[in-house]
């Protein structure tokens, strides 16, 4: 029983990292109907920027700020120069362009920072929590606190402010939102900025959590992010959080309990393909 509960904690930690990464994907899909594969490149950029910021200043908060700022700038640049010019083209065109950006980015990270992974060791001022035989390590606590704060902030923004209302309106129906006086281009840019900032933070947290930052750290996350937003129903924010936690928990449990020789990444895809075939609109999707 304790093992199961411990696995649950581990799974939820991983899942909350996935959620942070996948939220940007789902928000971009919401306002643009584009699968933003290069989002994983932004995620990796966040990890490198965070590492750089941390080495420069030694402060976790400066590093987090650097990660989110670099990711935001890059996300905005991509919206401006890659996605906006391709608006109105068939979805495949944008998808292929996005994949092109992503694999080029991975190669650029490899050229600039070298192929070998960097360690990302942060001396945390948090304690390891122990209760009833369960362990919540300091990095896990950090992940839980930071993702919790960011998700709460996102929820407040989307549910309680005019900007959030505009984002939700544009993702429901861009034309009607325009007719009501909203500027969809600004909203799309804003969505890219928010989603990329979250991905940047996720990248840095993943770097700290696994104590490793490498050029290819985004690739598995990229495709898993797609699996998650599909599971959650594309464009649905609560669905994405739920899907991410579910994927995190299920793959951790499967790896811990089932003796079947498939890596955890393959399970997420099998789940995604199964959901596609049975319920193409996703778990919480409405269509």
């Amino acid at each position: 029983m304790t093992t199961l509960a411990q696995q649950l904690i581990n799974g939820l930690t991983v899942g909350s990292l996935y959620a942070l990464m996948a939220l940007g994907l789902t928000m971009v899909y919401g306002v643009m109907r584009v699968l933003h594969i290069a989002h994983a490149g932004v995620f990796t950029l966040g990890a490198y920027a965070g590492l750089w910021g941390f080495r420069w200043t030694g402060s976790f908060w400066v590093a987090l700020l650097a990660a989110m700022a670099a990711a935001t700038l890059f996300g905005l640049a991509m919206e401006r120069w890659v996605y906006s010019p391709l608006l109105g083209k068939p979805p495949i065109t944008t998808l292929i362009a996005s994949i092109g950006v992503f694999i080029a980015l991975e190669e650029i990270y490899r050229i600039v920072a070298g192929p070998e992974p960097y360690g990302f060791e942060v001396r945390l001022l948090l304690p390891d929590l122990r209760a009833a035989g369960l362990l919540l390590t300091a990095p896990q606590l950090l992940v839980a606190l930071v993702t919790g704060a960011l998700l709460l902030g996102l929820w407040l923004l989307l549910a309680r402010t005019g900007i959030g209302l505009a984002i939700r309106a544009v993702s429901q129906d861009g034309e009607i939102a325009t007719a009501c006086g909203m500027d969809p281009r600004r909203i799309v840019a804003l969505t890219f900025a928010i989603g990329s900032a979250l991905a940047g933070a996720a990248g840095m947290l993943v770097g700290i959590f696994y104590n490793s930052v490498s050029p290819t750290m985004g690739s598995v996350t990229a495709y898993k992010g797609l699996a998650i937003i599909v599971l959650g129903g594309l464009g649905s924010i609560p669905g994405t959080v739920l899907g991410a936690l579910l994927v995190g928990v299920v793959e951790t449990l499967v790896i811990g309990l089932v003796d079947f020789p498939l890596p955890r990444d393959a399970w997420a895809f099998l789940a995604m393909i199964a959901v596609f075939l049975v319920r193409p609109q996703g778990l919480l999707g409405v269509k």
Binding site: P91, T93, T94, I96, A97, I99, S219, F269, F276, P280
Partner: protein
């Protein structure tokens, strides 16, 4: 010898791009997992010849059947899942297939499969020139299949499916059957290429058939001009030969491919020789005259 190797690999790329053209170019069904079917063909042929002592030729047929069968399953999935969702489904298929090769001891695990025998022709092992002839025959076969598709009733039905699925359905085209057909043919060709690949290199491992290779094949097809056979072949030849001629291109291969995909999608979605590309239209004008 080096020239033969490059030529043989380019031939294998041609079979792959022609197969992908059947699926994506002619039938309009995006596939981002073409390398998975190359892998299924390669592993089928390798396991049968190495572990079970089969001869090359029956193993070749088995490879084509296995890849085509797996492709038919994906084609059946394409009935429910469309466009960019089909794209990520096929991407997922690629990951799962590679994971199976990598984690199941039956497929050699992380060590791959080595010592794959060369094909034999009337009792003698096929040398490099002979193998090149074999691969060229494979390219011609793939080309013949695609030409037949383009100029037959089935081809018209596939093109109609590509242009407007609902309209094609309304006009009486059995969209489901034709999607499965396109996937089966395209992936069976990939299986043929896979068998050639395994027996030419004599060693295969799961990493050879990953998502980056699928993207490489797609990049070749998009560069040449998606939807045309000349484009498929031109793309495979250009991107197959260029890294051999230029060292930096070989070192930064994925950067080149990624940048190329972005630039093509942004400014020239029809590639170099596609029907609506500058060169393609000039070619059409010349032929009309």
């Amino acid at each position: 010898m080096y020239v033969y190797t490059v030529a043989t690999l380019v031939g294998i790329y041609c079979i792959l791009t022609l197969g992908l053209n059947t699926i994506t170019g002619i039938a309009g069904q995006i596939s981002l997992g073409h390398a998975a079917f190359l892998g299924i063909g390669a592993y089928t042929s390798a396991v049968l010849t190495v572990s079970y002592g089969w001869d090359f030729w029956p193993a070749l047929i088995a490879a084509v059947v296995a890849a085509g069968g797996a492709g038919a399953l994906v084609g059946a999935a394409a009935i429910r899942v469309r466009e960019d969702f089909l794209a990520i489904t096929t991407m997922g298929v690629n990951f799962v297939v590679v994971a199976v090769f990598l984690y199941f001891p039956f497929f050699g695990g992380a060590f791959g499969i080595g010592g794959i025998p060369a094909p034999r022709w009337f009792g003698a092992a096929l040398g490099k020139p002979g193998f090149l002839v074999l691969v060229v025959a494979g390219v011609l076969l793939a080309l013949a299949v695609n030409l037949w598709l383009l100029y037959s009733w089935a081809g018209l039905a596939l093109l109609a499916t590509r242009e407007d699925e609902d309209a094609a359905h309304a006009a009486g085209v059995d969209v489901r059957a034709f999607k499965i057909m396109a996937f089966t043919i395209g992936t069976a060709l990939a299986g043929l290429a896979g068998s050639f690949y395994a027996h030419y290199l004599t060693f295969i491992s799961a990493g050879d058939f990953g998502f980056p290779f699928s993207i490489t094949i797609l990049c070749m097809l998009v560069l040449g001009g998606i939807g045309t056979n000349r484009g498929a072949i031109a793309g495979a030849v250009i991107l197959g030969v260029l890294p051999e001629l230029s060292r930096p291109l070989a070192d930064y291969r994925m950067l080149t491919y990624g940048g190329l995909l972005l630039v093509l999608m942004r400014w020239a979605p029809h590639g170099l020789l596609g029907d609506a590309s500058l060169l393609g239209r000039a070619l059409a004008r010349r032929l009309e005259r």
